[in-house]
């Protein structure tokens, strides 16, 4: 069995009296595509934020590639995010005044040095070689999401986190994005943790966990496409 890229033990996140994530033990092997499903407020986005180092647990431990995120400082977490993780958002969150190419290069800036050739290559990999100079407002939802994917993979992260990455896309674009993610994972062998409401999207992963009221309630293997 592959080594674990993510290991949590009794991982908890509370906001005052509200426990958004109840003690969770989770292990994700290297290269696995894990889908997290659940209703709104089930704790899936909380889990994703913790895995991405965007939030801190209130209890338990969380280790990504052997790094205990709970012990990292603010700047340590920033380093972790730029070195180890790529995040794909539902709302794309592209910088409106930068072109597709520049949005990808922005991620490089925080990681190392902006490299136009590399950024162009990343956009070509997601099929946007012809949209380099377009700003987000000039791109369709699917294209914006592909820019977001190119930005997430540009620094070769070992873990890709997706927060409802197809939530705003139509069926055709959803399929295109999922195929793209599958191909990229096959080439780069990174792990994926993806939150979704969509059963069809979940079917693209290797394993799905279902969450409800902050607890992991069910786990199932999916065939993966």
């Amino acid at each position: 069995m592959a080594a674990a890229i993510i290991e949590t033990s009794q991982l908890t996140r509370s906001y005052g009296d509200i426990c958004a994530l109840k003690p969770l033990d989770l292990c994700v092997p290297e290269g696995e595509w894990l889908t997290v499903m659940g209703h709104s407020g089930s704790g899936k986005s909380t889990l994703l934020n913790l895995l991405g180092g965007l939030d801190r647990p209130t209890g338990g431990s969380i280790s990504v590639r052997g790094t205990d995120l709970a012990t990292l400082s603010e700047d340590g977490l920033a380093r972790f995010r730029r070195d180890c993780v790529g995040i794909i958002f539902q709302q794309h969150h592209l910088i409106p005044y930068l072109t597709a190419l520049e949005n990808v290069m922005m991620s490089q800036y925080f990681h190392s040095v902006p490299d136009e050739a590399e950024a162009r290559h990343a956009l070509e990999r997601v099929g946007l070689g012809h949209r380099l100079k377009n700003r987000p407002g000039e791109l369709s939802g699917g294209e914006q999401q592909r820019v977001c994917i190119a930005r997430a993979i540009i620094n070769s992260p070992r873990l890709l986190l997706g927060d409802e990455p197809t939530g705003n896309l139509d069926h055709k674009s959803t399929t295109m994005v999922m195929e793209l993610l599958r191909d990229l994972r096959d080439e780069d062998r990174f792990s994926i943790v993806m939150v979704t409401h969509n059963q069809e999207v979940a079917a693209w992963g290797d394993r799905t966990i279902h969450m409800d009221d902050g607890c992991l309630v069910r786990e199932e293997r999916t065939k993966g496409c």
Partner: protein, 386 residues
């Protein structure tokens, strides 16, 4: 692309993207900077103007030997002098001027008397070039003296029958002296009763080479207050007394000081107002850019990275508006100086760092609060738009 070039690139893009806010910030900063520059230029121009005006009143400092004799008299009557005459060394005075750093025009005066047909006539040895420069109000009928010539006070004509063009043979000195009266001077003061002779000649006649009884100095008040300059000179002239000759210089200085203080206060109020405006605008910008900041943090941007981006924006705005403020300030200063003080306020390069410094300081000071909030922004909440 280097990191620095990239930073400049995205900062420019961000500023251009929010051009409305950028223009507003530029306008506020430029106005503040131009006001500071204009007031500085007007103040400097006023100083020069006041110095020029007070120059018309002649010397503003006088240096005398400590135990100099005091002339006793009332109105046009002279009763003689009290105390032994004493003298200053020209070299000592020149050295003191050099050491103290006091700059300005000066004239050496040696008071004495020469005998004309058994009658003693009060004389003053002067360097005519110096006197002419320092006493522009002297009205001379005839010519200013050249070698072998003297200048008679206008009161000498009725008393001693001294007229322009007359030749006189003086005695009572070290050797006989024949001089020609080149002109008659009228000042309305004690000079009218004095015969002015070449300083070196009188020093030789009196056997006091290199010595003078008084030095009149028109100190450049642009280099510091008159009082300070007098004190500074006094330190290097232990055997002499340095006095302010008139109150005109002091009054002008005090008035100028008050006007400058007023301008400084107005500038401070404007700067504080502009700073608040910048802080408000920057705060709004940070709030509006909450999602962007959250995204940058989520992408791995550290607090330092974000600080660099936002500081670079403030820096660019500060420098840009500083240049604009310098030029606009020059125009305002020119207008104010010409319309209010009837003077010219030329654009002076030494105010460029002031203009840029003011706008830079305002931009950065106004950004401190917003930058601190950038530090604290939670990426998750920002991305959610909370």
């Amino acid at each position: 692309m280097t990191r620095r070039r990239w930073l400049a690139h995205i900062v420019l893009r961000a500023l251009v993207h929010r051009w409305g806010r950028t223009l507003l910030l530029l306008a506020v900063l430029t106005l503040a900077s131009s006001l500071a520059t204009a007031l500085g230029l007007v103040s400097a121009s006023m100083k020069a103007r006041v110095a020029e005006e007070t120059r018309k009143y002649g010397a503003n400092l006088v240096i005398m030997p400590e135990s100099a004799r005091v002339e006793v008299g009332s109105g046009g009557l002279r009763f003689g002098a009290v105390g032994e005459p004493s003298y200053l060394s020209q070299d000592q005075v020149l050295a003191a001027l050099a050491k103290s750093g006091v700059k300005g025009d000066y004239s050496f005066h040696l008071k004495g008397a020469l005998t004309l047909k058994g009658v003693q006539i009060p004389c003053e040895g002067v360097d005519f070039t110096q006197v002419r420069r320092l006493s522009p109000w002297w009205q001379v009928a005839g010519d200013w003296p050249r070698a072998g010539e003297v200048l008679g006070g206008s009161d000498l004509t009725p008393r001693y029958h001294v007229h322009t063009g007359d030749l006189f043979d003086f005695d009572g000195g070290k050797r006989p002296l024949r001089v020609r009266v080149a002109g008659l001077v009228s000042t309305g003061g004690e000079e009218d009763g004095t015969l002015f002779i070449d300083l070196k000649e009188l020093q030789d006649q009196m056997g006091r080479p290199g010595q003078v009884s008084q030095v009149r100095l028109l100190a450049d008040t642009g280099k510091g207050s008159l009082q300070e300059q007098a004190a500074s000179l006094q330190r290097f002239l232990p055997g002499a007394v340095v006095k302010e000759l008139r109150q005109v210089g002091r009054t002008s200085e005090e008035l100028l000081g008050k006007v400058q203080l007023l301008m400084l206060l107005v500038t401070a109020v404007v700067l504080v107002t502009a700073g608040s405006s910048v802080a408000g605008t920057m705060s709004t910008a940070v709030l509006e850019r909450g999602k962007e900041i959250g995204l940058l943090k989520a992408m791995g941007g550290s607090r330092w990275d974000l600080l660099k981006i936002f500081s670079a924006e403030a820096l660019l705005l500060g420098v840009g508006s500083g240049v604009g403020g310098f030029l606009l300030g020059g125009l305002i200063a020119k207008f104010v100086a010409s319309s209010v003080f009837a003077a010219d306020a030329a654009l002076r390069l030494e105010f460029f760092p002031v203009a840029v410094g003011v706008s830079l300081l305002l931009a950065l000071a106004g950004s401190v609060g917003p930058l601190l909030s950038v530090f604290k922004l939670d990426p998750v909440q920002s991305l959610r738009g909370e």
